[in-house]
Structures are given as structure tokens and as C-alpha cells.
């Protein structure tokens, strides 16, 4: 066996070992209920903002505390605490991806990703002065 083949085998073995360990890092999408089963492990939970429930962000008191309620894919609503500032445009988000863990009945989030209405799909031509539009069409 040539040295090249030995190196290749060693590298392939090492690469497989590393890739297995990389897969170990991969996260999964969970619901609040399934995340609660492993309270000290971080997960990603997808859901949408529950607009009927209060949002609290009072920077005067604590600029690193933002709480709101999210409804996950299974339809359960939980309180979420994010240790940071309230993301701008939060209300408009269609979908929220949280990273974090369950603590008692609260989801403690370290990262919020928001999916806002796409700029391409929902584009509508803005027309200035709709009244003048009518008169033009009337002609």
C-alpha cells in the first residue's frame, strides 16, 4: 500500500469522525412541549406572535428584557422572554424562529429570527392619489 493511500484512508476516517460530530451539533425544530422535556437543552421553536397577548419592553427599567407570547406549530401559547432589545418591526413578522430553552413554563430565548412579508411576493404598486385615479378612469 502506498503512502498516498494510507494518508487518504486516515483522512477519510478523520473526516467521517468530524462529520459525525458536526451532525451532533445540528439542531431540530421542536414545539414548546417537546422542548420542555429537556429543559436544559437549546432548541429552535417556530411559531407566530400571539398579538392578543401583551408584549413588555420597557428599556427604562431593563433594556435587556423583552417578553411576549408565541403560538407554536402545535397551537400552544407560551410566554417567551428574550434577553435583549425588542426587535424592530416585531409586530409585522409572519413567522418567528426562536432559539432557546424552556424554563418552567417560560421559553427563555437567546435568539429571535423573524420572517417578514417578502419584499418580492407581496409587492403592490403604490398609487398616489387614488381620487385622481377614479377621475381618470371615469374619462
Amino acid at each position: 500500500m502506498k503512502r498516498f493511500h494510507i494518508i487518504l484512508l486516515v483522512l477519510i476516517a478523520a473526516a467521517i469522525a468530524v462529520i459525525v460530530s458536526l451532525v451532533g451539533d445540528f439542531s431540530t425544530y421542536e414545539t414548546f412541549a417537546s422542548a420542555a422535556r429537556h429543559p436544559n437543552k437549546e432548541y429552535r421553536v417556530i411559531g407566530e406572535l400571539d398579538k392578543a397577548m401583551p408584549q413588555v419592553y420597557e428599556p427604562q427599567k431593563d433594556p435587556n428584557y423583552f417578553s411576549f407570547y408565541m403560538k407554536d406549530k402545535a397551537g400552544n401559547v407560551r410566554k417567551v422572554v428574550y434577553l435583549g432589545s425588542r426587535p424592530t418591526d416585531f409586530e409585522r413578522s409572519e413567522q418567528i424562529v426562536l432559539t432557546g430553552q424552556m424554563r418552567d413554563s417560560v421559553f427563555l430565548s437567546t435568539q429571535i429570527l423573524m420572517k417578514c412579508p417578502s419584499k418580492y411576493k407581496n409587492d403592490q404598486v403604490a398609487i398616489s392619489q387614488m381620487s385622481s385615479t377614479d377621475s381618470h378612469i371615469a374619462k
Binding site: 502506498k2 503512502r3 498516498f4 494518508i7 483522512l11 473526516a15 468530524v18 462529520i19 458536526l22 451539533d25 445540528f26 439542531s27 431540530t28 425544530y29 437549546e42 432548541y43 429552535r44 419592553y57 420597557e58 428599556p59 427604562q60 427599567k61 431593563d62 433594556p63 435587556n64 428584557y65 422572554v81 434577553l83 435583549g84 432589545s85 425588542r86 424592530t88 418591526d89 409585522r92 424562529v97 432559539t99 424554563r103 417560560v106 427563555l108 429570527l113 420572517k115 417578514c116 412579508p117 417578502s118 419584499k119 418580492y120 411576493k121 409587492d123 403592490q124 404598486v125 403604490a126 398609487i127 398616489s128 392619489q129 385622481s132 385615479t133 381618470h136 378612469i137 374619462k139
Partner: protein, 831 residues
């Protein structure tokens, strides 16, 4: 009956679409002709030349068509022809001229066009310089042009739309809210505009450079394919090498320009976030650099030819893969800046396989014919370790691709895997070890010789640099004070190891230039590039491991979880009430005001930094801003502002501000005061004096009517060591009274002249001041130590590439003219 629409300019669009079709057909024709020419050339048949000429003509026509498309797009954009969807979607009337180009490549079509332009230019150069390689190389490039041109076609074949036409009309794009009448264009006052985040000079320079990098990977690829196809397995190496160096140089520059952009104007908090889009452009660069090294090995020793083929082929394939990832919409949630889906993912996938399958098929089919010396390279030679280095680069690329491709794995295996929760550490914990080995390699391997066991030579020559590096490591290791314990002592050890090895690489490469090359700069390209890479690594280590968040909040009250350790609640945002200094690191930081300018969608927040030990002297003021109504977001997005020092950067951005949601902050009330001239009113942080009253005031916002009786109050306001003047106006127009208010926005002071009592010689002045606690920003601030090392390292690396590129081109010209000379000599002898 067809409607006649008023005011449309259809001519440029018709010409444009015609040009797209011409570009497509002539690229197809060029492909066919060049393939035919190559096949004939392979058999040494005489007709090859006429086919080649036909191919040339077709390619030139194609290039002219591509340039015309570009010119026409610029034309319709600069004339604000909003009847075109592309113009409407990506520009607006108020867009500054300098962002015209940026708006051109905001969309997918424009960026494909950019790619096609670079291919066209590279093709025209190759027609001039490629000589006997012209036909096979141009076959590949013409075919690629054909594929890209089809991305702009926008024509339906059997119900499937091929490409997206940039000249499509707004009324045909399916975005109109009503059936367009003949006069619809008069109602389209303005376009949707360019995303405000993209309105900066980085957007003007980063995409062209990056796309030149992407586009140029096809040249070494085409040479490699040409070599396999023509069965000239070794002759392609020499002409391909400078192209590979050029491509790696430009692609690397493009990637790091993207990093600089992210750092300067996005709020990732850094220049690299292992974002899938960033990774997708890094991976082909890694394999390309691996390919350059194996090409060099082959050139000097005859080894590693097969791996050279492999690396250069996959570099281009990976560029296609990266295009697929970023443009098909498959990355979706996992990336901040992927393009959105244009419905072309199927087409993109087809092109990926159209190149992948024949290229790798040909490679494996001809694998046995590619020369490989039966004798293995000895252990202590340069070629052996260069080959190992290339393998390491390749392995690094494999690891990065593996995680970046999670959405692809999910599609193939129907799994639901998500990105790692801690993305950066996920990549860093592996890549740091590869970086350590690579840095060590760049330090040591060049001291080996090609083709001979040179262990004792290496030991002798490397002793002095090693000694210097050892001393440097002790000194800088002691000075560096890296205490990055977030991921434990193991990772900290790796960080120190990388730091030391990088210092070693800088010293060893500089020593090599001085001791071995005796200062011969022409040959020092590789050493300079390696030293630059090591400097870059040092910059990465120092700026990330010593990166410090200085905006730590110490007041937070809503800590419901009783966090025991700092890592769990890092409290990285600080509350800055107006005018009140807050301690941050070595600074006293004060929010001193904000400003807006008409036509500029930004609110700038002035944040003053003063030395803690001497707070009376402000050191500098930063103006991070918030963008209102960023396109597609309708809300706010933050833009950082950075103070640069030679040894560190102070990086700030505003995460939240009281005045971005004005309805919430405006809880203060007006209080009315009766004042005589000379009276004083105390304010929250200062006082106000009524200096005088005067008639007939002049103010831009006050438009006097005949018969107006107008009085202005001259007010002097003193606050925080500054003085201000305000002139609110009160007027009588017939029986009606009116007022023109004045404000001092930096004090959040609103002044309303409410009335006059002529008998008592008093005026009524209503004053509202928003209290500092309701007038605030939430700021995040970092210190990046030695970030300039990162940019310096990049610049030196590029310089190294450039030197070696010039050296390679000179060699080529030299060898070509020497061939000419020798052929002349032969001719002379014959005559």
C-alpha cells in the same frame, strides 16, 4: 382590441429583449462552432480554423449583445422608465446617481447579467491569448454563456418559463392592483426603490468584484476540461496557472469586500458570521487555492496532476452549487442575504448537473490516462507537504459545505434538521485546527526543496526564523492577554496555538524573502501571500477572542430568572437617557441628540464618548443611525457607526430609540408660562430667557398674509453648557390667531407662543420638554482590538497574489517569445 398606453417607451425594451435572444442564439452558435473546431483540431484536420473563426464571430456578436443589454438597462433605469418592472422594482426617482449600478444588480437578472459581462470580457481576452487552447476553452465558456443568457430569456417552452426577462413591463408583471387603463403610467409616480440597506458604496463595488471572481473560475476549469478532452493532459497546466491565480485573487478580494461591508454597515457585530451565503463563496475559493498549489507541484515535479484536475473542476462546480444555494430560495430562513426565489430553481439545478456530470464523468473516464509518477514523492520534500496542505484546504471545504448544505440534506432525505444553535462555534471549533495546520505549513514547507529529501537543509535554514519566532511568541503571547474562556480551556489553548503558529508563519515567510530569496521580490509572491494570510489569522484571533462588549447594562431590574452567571444573561444593551453620561468600559458615553435631514430616511443619533478619567473633554462622537421604511421591511433597521483607531475599533449601533415609535414616547404635556421680557423659566436641564419681542419676523415656515400682525419671541436657551436660540411666532390674521412653533430638537424642547396680554406686557409661552427618561436610545457597543490586522492581512495576501500573477504572466510571455525565437532559428537554418 389592443389598448394604447400613453407615455410608455417600449423601444428600448424591444431592442433589449431582442439582444437577449441574439445573445442566447449567438452563444449557442459559438458553442457549436468551437466544439466542431476542437474536434477537428484534435484530429489535426485543416477545417478547424474556419470553424474557429465562425466561433469567434459568434462570440463577439454575443458579447456585443450582452453589452447592449447592460447599456439598455442603464438607459431605462437612469430615465426612470417605470413602465419597466425592473426599473420600478429596484429604483426610485430620489435614488442618487451613484447607486444606479447598485440598483442594477439588486435583482437576480442584473446579477446574472453582471456575470455574463465578465464571461464575455474574459472570453474576448482568451480569444486573443489562448492560441491553440482557444477552441476547447472557448467551447466551455460559450456554453456557459448560453446557459446564463437563457436565464434572461423569459420565454415559455412547453409551459415552463426559461429565465426571467429584465425588460418585462410593469403592467405584465402581475403586480398591478387594478386593470391598467390607457393612462396608467401617469399614476405611477415612483418606483419601489433600492433597499436602503444596499444604498452604500459597498454595494457599488462588492458585487462586480465578487462576480468577476465567480466568473473567472471558469477559465482554469475550461483549461482542465480542454486538457482532458484534447488528451493533452499536461500542456494546459502552464497557461491555466496564471488564470487560477487571478481567479483566486479576485474571488478572495470579493469575499473580503463582502466582509468589510458586513462589518461597516450591518449589525452582525463582525466581518464574518459563517452565513450560508458567505460560506458558499468561500468554499470554491478554498478548492481553487488547493488547485493552485497542486498545479505548482505538478509544474515542478510531475506529481499531483490528477488532483489538479479535480480541484479546478470542482471549484467551478462549487461556484454553480453556490449559485444554486443562494438563488433558488432553498436557504430560506437560514441566511440573512440570500436572493429570493424567482422560480428558476429547477433551471439552476439543471445547469449544475449539465456541468457536473460531463466534467466529472470525463475526469474519471480519463483518470487512468493522466500521468502520475509510479515513484511516490519522498516524505521530506516540498511537493509532498504542499499536497497535504491542498488536501487540508479541501477537507476544510468539505466540512463547511456539509453544514451549509443542511437545507439540501433536508430536501434529499426528507429530514427536518436545523442549523446548529451556536453557529459560529460549530464552524470555529473545527476550522481553527485546520487553520493551525495550514499556518504551520505556510511557515515550514517552503524551506523544503522540490524533488529531493531536504530534511537536513530545512533544519539548517529554518533554525534562525524559528528562534526569532519563538522570542516573538513569548513576548506577544505575554502582551496579548487573551482570556477567552467562553468555550473552555481547550478552545483557549487552540486560540493561543493559532496565535503562535501565525506569528511563526509571518516570521518564517519574511525570513524566507530575506534569507533565501535575498530580497528578490519577483519571486516572493507566495511568501508575501502566506505572510498576509498569517497576519490575517492574527487579526482574526485578536479581534474575535478579545472582542469586548462595553455596553453592559448594570441597572436591569426585570431579572426574573435569577441568573447566577454572566454567560446566561449577558446584558449587552445599555439604556442611554438623553444627556446623562453612562459608563462603558473606559468611556463615559452620552446621548447628546439626534438629527434627520430632509430626503434622507435615516435618523442619526449623536453619541459622545469621553475619557472616564477626564469626562469634561469629549474624545469623539459617533453617529449610528436608524433607517426608516427600509424597502420590504416598512419598519426600522439599524446601521452601525465605528470609530477607527490604529489598534482598535469602537463599534456602535442603536437597537431601540424612543422616537422611532413617537406615539409611545410623547407623554409630556405643555405648561404655560406668563413672561415679560427678561424673565427666566427653568427647564429640566437648564433655563430659558425671553430676550425680546420683535415685529414682522422672517422664517421659512411662516408665510405672512397681507394684514398680518405678527410678533416673534426671541428666546435664549442654556443647557448642558450650550446655548440655543428659538423664535416662536404669534400672529393675528383678521379675527383669527395663529402660531408658528419652534423646537430645539436636541433638547426635546417644544415652544409654543400662545398669546399676548398687551396691558400687562406679558406673553403666554407654552413649553413642553420630553423628560430624559422618555427620550433615550438603547445602544450596543463593542471594542474590536486590532481589527486593522485583518484588513492589513487581506491586503498583503492580495499583494502577494498580484506579485505572483505578474511573475507568472511574465514567465509565459518570456517562454512564448523564446519559442518564437527558436522557431525563427529553425527557419533560418532551413533557409
Amino acid at each position: 382590441m389592443t389598448t394604447h398606453y400613453i407615455g410608455e417607451h417600449l423601444f428600448p425594451g424591444q431592442i433589449g429583449h431582442l439582444a437577449v435572444i441574439i445573445a442566447f442564439i449567438s452563444a449557442l452558435l459559438a458553442t457549436i462552432s468551437y466544439v466542431k473546431a476542437s474536434l477537428l483540431q484534435k484530429q489535426n484536420l485543416p477545417d478547424a480554423t474556419s470553424w474557429k473563426k465562425l466561433g469567434r464571430a459568434a462570440f463577439v456578436i454575443q458579447a456585443v449583445a450582452i453589452f447592449s443589454i447592460f447599456g439598455l438597462l442603464i438607459w431605462i433605469i437612469s430615465h426612470h422608465y417605470f413602465e419597466y418592472y425592473y426599473v420600478w422594482e429596484h429604483t426610485s426617482r430620489d435614488l442618487a446617481l451613484k447607486y444606479l449600478l447598485a440598483s442594477l444588480w439588486e435583482g437576480q437578472e442584473g446579477s446574472f447579467l453582471l456575470w455574463a459581462i465578465w464571461h464575455a470580457i474574459l472570453g474576448l481576452i482568451l480569444i486573443r491569448v489562448a492560441k491553440q487552447w482557444e477552441s476547447p476553452v472557448m467551447s466551455v465558456i460559450s456554453f456557459a454563456q448560453c446557459c446564463i443568457a437563457s436565464m434572461l430569456l423569459g420565454i415559455y417552452f412547453f409551459g415552463y418559463r426559461v429565465g426571467s426577462n429584465p425588460f418585462i413591463l410593469l403592467r405584465n408583471a402581475g403586480v398591478m392592483p387594478f386593470e391598467p387603463g390607457p393612462n396608467y403610467l401617469s399614476m405611477i409616480r415612483d418606483g419601489a426603490g433600492l433597499n436602503a440597506l444596499l444604498q452604500n458604496y459597498w454595494m457599488v463595488i462588492h458585487p462586480p468584484v465578487l462576480f468577476l471572481g465567480f466568473a473567472s473560475t471558469i477559465v482554469p476549469f475550461a483549461y482542465a476540461i480542454g486538457g482532458l478532452w484534447m488528451k493533452q493532459y499536461s500542456e494546459w497546466v502552464k497557461p491555466a496557472l496564471p488564470w487560477a491565480v487571478f481567479s483566486a485573487m479576485v474571488l478572495g478580494t470579493g469575499i473580503m469586500l463582502g466582509g468589510a461591508w458586513a462589518y461597516e454597515s450591518l449589525t452582525f457585530g463582525g466581518y464574518w458570521a459563517w452565513d450560508p451565503v458567505e460560506n458558499a463563496s468561500l468554499v470554491p475559493w478554498l478548492t481553487l487555492v488547493a488547485g493552485i498549489h497542486t498545479l505548482l507541484v505538478y509544474k515542478h515535479t510531475g506529481h499531483s496532476l490528477r488532483s489538479s484536475f479535480f480541484f479546478l473542476i470542482i471549484s467551478f462546480i462549487l461556484v454553480l452549487y453556490s449559485t444554486f444555494l443562494t438563488r433558488s430560495g432553498i436557504l430560506g430562513d437560514s441566511s440573512v442575504h440570500a436572493f429570493t426565489d424567482l422560480g428558476m430553481s429547477g433551471q439552476l439545478l439543471v445547469y449544475l448537473f449539465v456541468f457536473l456530470i460531463p466534467a466529472l464523468g470525463l475526469f474519471f473516464y480519463r483518470y487512468k490516462h493522466i500521468a502520475a509518477p509510479s515513484q511516490e514523492e519522498p516524505l521530506h520534500t516540498r511537493e509532498f507537504w504542499m499536497f497535504i496542505g491542498s488536501l487540508l484546504l479541501f477537507i476544510s471545504a468539505v466540512f463547511i459545505s456539509f453544514t451549509t448544505s443542511i437545507p439540501v440534506w433536508n430536501k434529499i432525505f426528507h429530514t427536518h434538521m436545523a442549523e446548529p444553535v451556536d453557529r459560529e462555534f460549530h464552524y470555529n471549533r473545527i476550522q481553527i485546527f485546520i487553520a493551525i495546520l495550514l499556518a504551520l505549513g505556510t511557515a515550514v514547507v517552503q524551506y523544503y526543496k522540490y524533488k529531493q529529501e531536504s530534511w537536513s537543509y530545512l533544519r539548517k535554514k529554518i533554525a534562525i526564523p524559528t528562534l526569532i519566532a519563538f522570542v516573538a511568541c513569548v513576548i506577544f503571547g505575554w502582551l496579548s492577554e487573551i482570556h477567552y474562556t467562553k468555550y473552555g480551556i481547550g478552545f483557549l489553548t487552540a486560540i493561543y496555538l493559532l496565535f503562535f503558529v501565525s506569528i511563526y508563519a509571518v516570521v518564517a515567510n519574511l525570513s524566507y524573502i530575506v534569507l533565501i530569496l535575498k530580497g528578490n521580490w519577483k519571486k516572493a509572491g507566495a511568501s508575501i501571500a502566506h505572510a498576509g494570510f498569517a497576519l490575517f489569522l492574527i487579526g482574526v484571533v485578536l479581534s474575535s477572542a478579545k472582542k469586548q462588549v462595553i455596553s453592559i447594562d448594570r441597572m436591569g431590574m426585570m431579572d426574573v430568572f435569577n441568573f447566577s452567571n454572566k454567560n446566561e444573561n449577558p446584558r449587552e444593551n445599555v439604556f442611554l437617557p438623553f444627556g446623562v453620561p453612562v459608563q462603558m468600559g473606559d468611556y463615559d458615553v452620552t446621548y447628546i441628540g439626534d438629527s434627520t435631514a430632509p430626503g434622507d430616511p435615516k435618523i442619526y443619533y449623536a453619541v459622545q464618548f469621553a475619557d472616564r478619567r477626564d469626562p469634561s473633554k469629549p474624545l469623539f462622537t459617533l453617529y449610528p443611525d436608524i433607517l426608516k421604511n427600509t424597502k420590504g421591511m416598512q419598519g426600522y433597521s439599524a446601521n452601525p457607526h465605528t470609530q477607527h483607531f490604529w489598534d482598535k475599533d469602537i463599534f456602535t449601533y442603536v437597537n431601540y430609540a424612543s422616537n422611532i415609535e413617537p406615539d409611545q414616547s410623547d407623554t409630556a404635556r405643555y405648561y404655560t408660562h406668563e413672561l415679560q421680557v427678561g424673565d427666566t423659566v427653568f427647564l429640566q436641564n437648564g433655563y430659558l430667557i425671553l430676550k425680546s419681542l420683535y415685529r414682522n419676523p422672517v422664517k421659512p415656515v411662516y408665510h405672512p398674509a397681507p394684514g398680518d400682525i405678527a410678533v416673534a419671541a426671541e428666546l435664549s436657551v442654556f443647557s448642558g453648557g450650550h446655548s440655543y436660540r428659538a423664535d416662536p411666532i404669534y400672529y393675528l390674521r383678521g379675527n383669527e390667531q395663529g402660531a408658528i412653533d419652534d423646537t430645539i430638537s436636541s433638547l426635546q424642547l417644544y415652544l409654543h407662543f400662545a398669546g399676548i396680554d398687551p396691558q400687562a406686557k406679558k406673553i403666554l409661552l407654552a413649553i413642553k420638554q420630553i423628560p430624559p427618561k422618555d427620550h433615550f436610545i438603547v445602544l450596543k457597543a463593542y471594542v474590536f482590538p486590532f481589527i486593522n490586522m485583518v484588513w492589513l492581512g487581506v491586503a498583503v495576501t492580495i499583494l502577494g497574489f498580484l506579485i505572483s500573477l505578474i511573475h507568472r504572466i511574465r514567465q509565459q510571455i518570456g517562454s512564448r517569445s523564446s519559442i518564437k525565437k527558436s522557431s525563427y532559428a529553425v527557419q533560418e537554418m532551413e533557409t
